[in-house]
């Protein structure tokens, strides 16, 4: 649907003017990394390899959370959300547009923060960095998909920025667990060992299944959520 594209275009145009959301997300991600460096590193040493996936995913989740609060909130300013609902676009298109924007924002954060992560923590990988790409992709897509859905759910409540993280993170646990485990294998496991390769693929499959289930559910239920 072309209208999804136009909703994304609109949000990106606004973001290009202000750079508020992505700016805050990127800065926040970097600060989280710095705090992790202070807590887990001693100068001159490497990050213990078991810590790597946790650092990556906590950073992604925090930065993503920051962006989620702004998925629907700005649409309340001049009641543009009503304007969207009035227009001939389906609610699932509005939802998918918002997911698209958030996904792109979070991807941007990852593209900036990940190289810095390698530099800050002096990381060497066992597997190819290419194996990290699908993990980040499914993790980010699932986070944006479920996150934007629950952001739409909480936008009609009082103080939604308090509610959102509390209701989002328990549901995200399988995805984050999958992400952390798959990332750990990419960084630390021996890729010659078929057992690890198999484990990598099963975690990835878990993430993909999670994404499919929650995207489907969100598309089915979004009409009830955006019905003001």
């Amino acid at each position: 649907m072309r209208k999804i594209f136009w909703i994304i275009w609109k949000d990106l145009a606004i973001e290009l003017r202000s750079r508020e959301v992505t700016g805050a997300m990127v800065l926040f991600a970097l600060m989280v990394l710095v705090i992790f460096a202070f807590s887990f590193l001693r100068p001159g040493e490497k990050l213990p390899p078991e810590m790597i996936p946790g650092v990556i995913w906590v950073t992604v989740a925090f930065a993503g959370m920051l962006g989620l609060n702004h998925a629907f909130l700005p649409e309340k300013q001049n009641d543009t959300l009503t304007g969207l609902i009035l227009a001939p676009v389906s609610k699932s298109a509005i939802y998918l547009g918002k997911v698209g924007t958030h996904f792109l924002f979070l991807l941007l954060v990852e593209i900036i923060a990940l190289p810095l992560f390698f530099i800050f923590f002096n990381i060497q990988m066992q597997g190819s960095v290419l194996y990290l790409v699908p993990v980040l992709f499914f993790g980010t897509a699932g986070f944006s998909g479920l996150g934007v859905f629950l952001s739409a759910l909480s936008v009609h409540t009082k103080s939604n920025e308090l509610l959102l993280p509390v209701i989002l993170f328990p549901l995200l646990i399988p995805l984050l667990l999958g992400g952390v485990k798959a990332t750990g294998i990419v960084f630390n496991a021996s890729w010659a060992d078929p057992v690890w390769v198999g484990a990598y693929w099963s975690w990835l499959r878990l993430m993909a299944v999670f994404d499919i289930i929650f995207f489907t559910l969100s598309l089915v239920l979004i009409d009830y959520v955006l019905e003001v």
């Binding site: 609109k10 304007g83 009035l86 003001v228």
Partner: protein, 232 residues
């Protein structure tokens, strides 16, 4: 044509609309009156398919298909909220809404409509730099961009100065002559009401008056309305 059948809307413990039925024929100009909090804005939103009623139905009939998407393209809605993105320019706002409404020949249409509301010179400024009146005029442009057949106007005169008000009255007159169906909420009797063929009065969520008016009735309804407001 639009038909509402036994529309009721409850929010929490409040009943905001109570069993309202009405028919608005094509080309009709109906003015909706009522004291603050009567439920006028809410009724408009229900009729414009923004809100779902708790019970009852809203049926729109126009030429062409009955798909919800096609019906929505025939509806225009002007509220006291502008529905505009502050960070985008006037042009970008129209471009975005034009794309959603699949307006044909969008560039020409947007230029034309900006010209009409007198914003051509400012169309590349972001909306947050606009004055209240300019925002109102841009909302009007957004309303008319996709050339809707059925117009819902919720207090369109608020925030406009004398001149702006006159321009709007003139625009409304022209739209009426073009055969648009209109349903307008207003508190100004001297504007618009005399244009209207029919008046609806809402009080506490119920329809209390619905009828055609001659100018001698107008005074009566004004009195009645004042009395209603004063008892609040």
């Amino acid at each position: 044509m639009i038909r509402g059948e036994n529309i009721s809307l409850k929010l929490g413990e409040k009943t905001i609309l109570r069993d309202i039925s009405l028919v608005v024929d094509p080309g009709e100009f109906v003015v909706l009156l009522g004291p603050n909090g009567a439920g006028k804005s809410t009724l408009l939103k229900v009729l414009a398919l923004i809100l779902k009623p708790t019970s009852g139905r809203v049926i729109h009939k126009y030429q062409g298909s009955d798909r919800e998407e096609d019906i929505k393209r025939k509806i225009g809605f002007l509220s006291h909220r502008s529905f505009l993105y502050e960070r985008l320019t006037a042009w970008e706002n129209l471009e975005f809404y034009g794309k959603l409404y699949q307006v044909a020949d969008l560039t020409r249409r947007a230029e034309e409509i900006l010209e009409q509301v007198g914003l051509s010179y400012y169309c590349h400024d972001p909306v947050y730099t606009y004055s209240r009146g300019m925002v109102q005029r841009l909302s009007l442009a957004r309303l008319l961009l996709h050339n809707p057949e059925m117009l819902f106007l919720d207090e369109p005169f608020t925030g406009l100065d004398q001149k702006g008000g006159e321009i709007l009255t003139e625009t409304i007159k022209v739209l009426h002559e073009q055969g648009k169906t209109m349903l307008m909420v207003t508190h100004y009797f001297d504007r618009g009401v005399d244009l209207a063929g029919r008046i609806l009065v809402l009080n506490k969520g119920s329809k209390v008056f619905d009828g055609k008016l001659t100018s001698s009735d107008l005074r009566d309804i004004q009195e009645f309305y004042r009395a209603q407001v004063e008892t609040e």
